[in-house]
């Protein structure tokens, strides 16, 4: 037994160590399965996976990176929420405050924004990879549909967050994006067949999104709540289903 092994043994046998960790970890197949199935975080994995399914050239790791970006935006987003008030009078000043006065404020904001952009790119690459390996084919059809919902939610998360800095870039990008809603057939006040429904500029699809006829303080609050509360919750629910289905169906791969 080497010196290191001897030392390890001594540490493990102390009363303090034993009081914390009652069992050793013996490297057996059973323990390897238990390490996954007995852990609340890891058990969304299957306990065994197909070997080629974890190869980087097969998965590109893009699904995992998308989820990691989601986690980064949650952590950094909570930090930003401490200092940011979704009120038209304060929002922009709070951005400046955050950038210049708060410790790590600029870093947190940068990471939040770049992770959001990276999440959009990663989710597209993930879908592209899943398409190229035909992994949406039976029995995984429904998980592809869930993934499409997650794509929409990712874009909505990014889009609602775009407004919050309350600067020229955000307000006009969101104006351009949301103006599409007023052209919705039947329920937009500039859309086709609007005259058969009777919508107007303060009572149509865009007004529902804006909380009024124009983009303004009410829109800021609405987008803030959608961005920080509603869409993250819905996304989490769909993520759970998405991961669960992967666990049930296993990673895709060539027929054995």
């Amino acid at each position: 037994m080497s010196k290191w092994e001897e030392f390890k043994q001594q540490v493990i046998e102390t009363q303090v160590w034993r009081s914390m960790f009652r069992h050793g970890y013996e490297d057996t197949p059973r323990n390897r399965i238990l390490a996954v199935s007995g852990n609340v975080w890891l058990h969304l994995h299957p306990s065994k996976v197909r070997k080629h399914g974890i190869r980087l050239k097969f998965t590109w790791c893009m699904g995992g990176i998308t989820f990691l970006m989601f986690l980064i935006t949650i952590v950094t987003g909570v930090y930003l929420m401490f200092y940011y008030r979704p009120v038209a009078e304060y929002a922009y000043a709070d951005m400046k405050y955050l950038e210049f006065d708060m410790p790590f404020g600029m870093l947190m904001r940068n990471m939040h924004r770049w992770a959001a952009h990276a999440m959009v790119i990663a989710v597209w690459l993930h879908m592209f990879r899943v398409f190229m390996t035909g992994s949406y084919k039976p029995p995984r059809e429904f998980n592809w549909v869930v993934g499409c919902v997650l794509l929409v939610l990712t874009l909505l998360l990014s889009f609602t967050g775009y407004l919050l800095p309350w600067d020229q870039l955000s307000i006009w990008a969101v104006t351009v994006g949301s103006n599409m809603a007023r052209a919705t057939p039947l329920i937009g006040h500039e859309g086709p067949f609007r005259e058969f429904v009777g919508v107007n500029d303060v009572y149509d699809a865009r007004a529902l999104l804006f909380g009024g006829g124009e983009i303004g303080p009410h829109t800021l609050l609405r987008f803030y709540i959608l961005h920080c509360v509603f869409i993250p919750i819905v996304t989490t629910i769909f993520l759970v289903v998405h991961f669960w289905r992967i666990r049930r169906d296993g990673l895709s791969g060539p027929p054995a």
Binding site: T28, A88, W114, M132, T133, Y136, Y162, Q168
Partner: protein, 267 residues
């Protein structure tokens, strides 16, 4: 399987990590193999994000001013493909119907694609048409239109090469003319009727042509297996995607504005 069961009762395995998989399948244990890969990937990506965030600051322009519209006003970059097709279609299509079709089209993909091959591995030869269609939609249309919208559009949504200065007063001929007029139809109602017939004919002839093409390529037996619902959905979505290409070609080549113009809806 029997061997795996004996192993699972807890006999310690003293060999290297990879040998733990039962010889009959290609499965390995999530712990430690997959978890280790995920952990390393997480570390690398977080390091990358940190460096990126330290080097590049997120943009923050002057405070929002609802009365000062910048020119050009651009949507977030991931929507610029849609903003770009606003050049060719009215907002109800470019901003609402087209994105809805994209999402619905993606969602129905596993149900209209009945090719059992290419499930779980990379192949081009076994799924030629699926991959070509996806490339047309994703790479040719979605990605390249985003690049155009992001880098090549300036004031007035006019085309500017990266080396050209953004001239707010760039003179561009606004010569968009409706297709029926270009074809010599002058009466208002005849124009509308022509547009309606042309649009309906496009979908009718397109569907029939696609039907014949599929039967020729894949045979009647395949078409029966595919079914009318799947075929109808596929051809409708495909013709809609192709319509964007056609409309772009008509606009860029012949300055055509609308194919169908009515008081209620323009296509």
């Amino acid at each position: 399987m029997a061997e795996a069961k004996v192993e699972a009762t807890g006999t310690p395995v003293r060999r290297g990590l990879t040998r733990l998989a039962a010889p009959s399948d290609d499965k390995i244990y999530t712990w430690p193999h997959l978890v280790r890969a995920e952990f390393l990937c997480t570390l690398l990506v977080i390091a990358f994000m940190l460096v990126w965030s330290l080097l590049v600051d997120a943009p923050l322009e002057e405070p929002a001013a609802p009365t000062r519209t910048p020119n050009p006003s651009k949507a977030p970059w991931y929507f610029l493909g849609l903003q770009e097709i606003l050049v060719y279609f009215d907002p109800w299509h470019a901003g609402v119907v087209a994105p809805s079709f994209i999402i619905v089209g993606l969602m129905v993909l596993p149900f209209i694609d009945i090719n059992p091959k290419g499930n779980g591995y990379y192949t081009y030869s076994e799924r030629k048409y699926e991959i070509q269609t996806f490339f047309l939609g994703f790479h040719v249309l979605w990605i390249s239109l985003i690049i155009v919208g992001t880098f090549l559009r300036g004031p007035g949504w006019n085309w500017f090469w990266p080396w050209e200065p953004w001239d707010t007063h760039k003179v561009v001929a606004m010569t968009g003319i409706d297709l029926p007029y270009q074809l010599g139809i002058r009466s208002y109602w005849a124009q509308a009727a022509f547009g309606l017939v042309a649009t309906a004919a496009y979908f009718a002839i397109g569907t029939v042509a696609m039907y014949m093409w599929v039967v020729k390529k894949k045979g009647v037996e395949f078409m029966e297996r595919w079914g009318m619902a799947r075929f109808g959905l596929t051809s409708f979505l495909f013709l809609n995607m192709l319509a964007i290409v056609i409309k772009m070609a008509l606009r860029l080549g012949f300055n055509t504005k609308y194919i169908m113009a009515t008081p209620w809806i323009n296509i």
